[in-house]
Symmetry: C2
Subunit: 473 residues, 2 copies
């Protein structure tokens, strides 16, 4: 069979493709995704929304070694140069990053020695499988820490380190569905898209609930939608920090609404704590996420506030629910109630390392710094006449979407409609915010010069009080 | 809120728990999982099947730093010693590993520099999102290589690097379900458990098909089950190497059976190539996995034959199918047709690095070595009077389950019922096999001394010709 595969041979010298750094964007290669999910190449004025390049135009092809590569060392040298250039671009991209809730400031040098091992926590974290190269002892240490944070006893919780926040949501909602097979999933419109993806994957009926202008779930609308479906149990996704505005759903009010509507013992609450589930415990006066309340599961991302080289997350649920989901898999000599089966064994060690080094006190300090810096950014934006909003319990600053997509891409801002946001993480310093503000103000002075382009109205997104468009200022 | 969380303070000196190496197993801590999925502690004679320890008895607790830790350096020193001990245990466990299909022999030293970055390939691999710290250029290079291997044109395929083989199966089966919403899932009994997990998650009707004694799907049974469900489309999981016996389903016969039964344009085939999907292209006379045949998707694991510090996989499907699954997510400025959303950006670089270094020729050499060594092991086992079987296209040697669970755990053998297996990977040398055989023969001489214990009969698992029990020898 070998030989029947056509091999694209690229000369050992650089072929130009490898030179591209992220800043150099060929407009012809920009992909636009249209409303129907199809895609087409380029140009402006398209009603589609995607700005990214089509990576096929700049990918790093895998090439077959030359016969004499081992002798000449050409291949090793070429690969080393590709990696060095890539590293340089990562440094630059890491420096100019504001839009995603990832703490890019970490030092795991002490863990470099572990990269030589294929560490895999197959199946259940609490039950060792026959595969010995695992890190369950670290994983369970981390899980214990989170169970303590969310007030669930050691012998009453079950959980695992996931690959990302999405896996946590997929797991929490699946547990809910297994507990209430005919339950309806309720989630606010501003929930993360993975929640609606779960509903589609799991073939669940899903009801979207309206939000307040802050981004929180609107419990009046929630109540009326519950009343329309009184015959079926309710599975609710509660956002502990929405993706776009960082809004925290009022968990107590959600529970009260369920009880008032007669859903006393017929509901399951999954808390999507993606970013803020780990910050809120350290914010004074913030409502509490706790298993002393009638919630079923909480998930949080590990690569966000903690910071980690790869995406990961923590999922905690009640042990009693897991039997609904688990099954025996003798092959692994392990019960498998996870979504993934084979699981990254490095991520738990990264988390364990950071939790041990920083501790509660360290996180508290960082959370306070983030909130302080987020207020600084919001105040500076408003002082410059830019519409901006910051939810009380959040470090996500929402503001007018910059009119220059190149600028958006340079600072890696996340955008939706007329708004963009910066998520102030521990690695976002005042100096970085000042650089950003200076550049924004300078660029912005050119956007509205022609008299035709209007300042975007963000009243519908954040409320009239935070909008400074022609109509609302 | 801080302070309300009880913190378990462990003295800075080692508290004993940290001393445990995997070899030291406290029988009191061994967990047995019973048939109902519940678990209970210990002892022998239980009909449950799990051998693993309950990790809670030996986990590495996260502790709060002391006030003076930064001054004394005690914490850093303690953590360094924990990690050094852990590294030592990983070395030992990696050395004595035979049962899982993981190539533990890799050297990614050149990539250590990248561990400082939070690399995340959010959403679609082909469309850049606004998050700039990604490795899509490597990912797409790897995907192109696999699409070429399985004969699908660049502009006709879609795929991504997954977190593991399970994610590939979850994706392939989901695509199948989206293409045929009322399709029935067919999979042989010896398919990986993730296939049946998918059916449950996705609320699909699932029909288990019998297997031949080799572990291959029995197409006579398949045909009769298809005939019972002629009104509904068929979604079929085809195993390119089953988990336990390494059996390769006959793809051509599966297709022929579908056509003969009248399912001409009403089927979707997902090929689960977990381990062998990457080995088979290099085995002479092996049937070919190719998109020139009417298949919908192929998945393969990256941490198995290639070798990778963390689990990962490759998923390739037809671009035309993806529109059925995809949706717009403006937040990421990316279409999301993946299961996970946030995706590990390091894994693609590991794969890219190995593919570039080894090339087709390198893999071919390694595959040949594995098959040769597998034959060596099978022959030696049989020569010692131990029932053993090796499928023609496989490097998975199936043999009588050792009677000593300590021995099973020491060599990390995967077991099911009366059989165990060794998967001969590139890191399994003749020397290692000799060590294993020597120890097995020595231990074995004591197992049947009492005259009561019988050699296990493995005829039902592998056929009478390979069984040497009292009845069949």
């Amino acid at each position: 069979m070998v030989g029947s595969v056509e091999i694209e041979v690229i000369p050992s010298e650089l072929n130009g493709k490898h030179e591209q750094l992220p800043e150099e964007i060929d407009p012809e290669s920009v992909l636009i995704v249209n409303e129907n999910g199809g895609n087409e190449n380029g140009g402006n004025g398209n009603k589609g929304m995607v700005l990214g390049r089509n990576i096929h135009t700049s990918c790093l092809a895998v090439t077959e070694p030359d016969v004499d590569d081992e002798v000449t060392g050409d291949r090793e040298a070429h690969m080393a140069s590709v990696l060095a250039r890539y590293r340089k671009s990562l440094l630059e991209r890491t420096k100019h990053h504001l839009g995603y809730p990832y703490n890019l400031d970490f030092d795991y040098g002490a863990l470099g020695q572990l990269q030589h091992f294929s560490i895999n926590n197959l199946g259940d974290p609490f039950i060792e499988s026959n595969y010995g190269v695992h890190s369950r002892q670290f994983e369970v240490g981390v899980l214990d820490w989170f169970a303590r944070l969310w007030e669930l006893e050691k012998d009453e919780y079950w959980g695992y380190i996931t690959n990302c926040g999405t896996e946590g949501n997929l797991h929490g909602i699946l547990v809910g569905r297994e507990v209430y097979p005919d339950g309806i999933l309720y989630a606010s419109r501003e929930s993360h898209y993975s929640v609606f993806k779960a509903a589609r994957m799991y073939r669940m009926e899903c009801v979207k609930v309206d939000t307040l202008v802050s981004g929180e779930i609107d419990c009046i609308d929630f109540k009326s939608k519950l009343q329309l479906n009184k015959d079926k149990p309710a599975i609710i996704n509660v956002n502990i920090g929405t993706t776009v505005k960082g809004a925290v759903d009022d968990l107590d009010l959600v529970i009260k609404t369920l009880e008032e509507t007669g859903f006393h013992d017929r509901f399951y609450i999954h808390c999507d704590g993606a970013l803020f589930g780990l910050m809120m415990p350290f914010v004074k006066r913030a409502p509490k996420v706790s298993f002393k309340k009638p919630i079923g599961s909480v998930s949080v991302s590990g690569h966000k506030f903690v910071g980690c080289p790869m995406p990961c997350g923590v999922q905690i649920t009640r042990l009693e629910h897991i039997n609904a989901l688990s099954r025996n898999v003798e092959y692994l000599a392990s019960r498998d109630a996870t979504i993934m089966g084979s699981r990254n064994g490095h991520a738990p060690i990264f988390l364990w390392y950071t939790l041990n080094r920083k501790g509660y006190k360290g996180f508290q300090k960082e959370v306070q710094k983030c909130l302080r810096n987020a207020h600084y950014l919001k105040d500076r934006l408003q002082a410059e006449g830019i519409g901006a909003m910051l939810n009380e319990l959040s470090s996500t600053v929402v503001f007018e979407r910059p009119q220059d997509e190149e600028f958006v891409r340079r600072w890696q801002l996340a955008c939706q409609g007329n708004i963009a946001h910066v998520v102030v993480m521990p690695n976002i310093t005042i100096e970085k915010l000042d650089d950003f503000l200076e550049e924004l103000v300078e660029k912005r002075s050119t956007w509205f010069q022609d008299g035709k382009t209007q300042k975007p109205c963000i009243a519908a997104d954040v409320g009239t009080e935070f909008c400074v468009c022609a109509l609302h200022k």
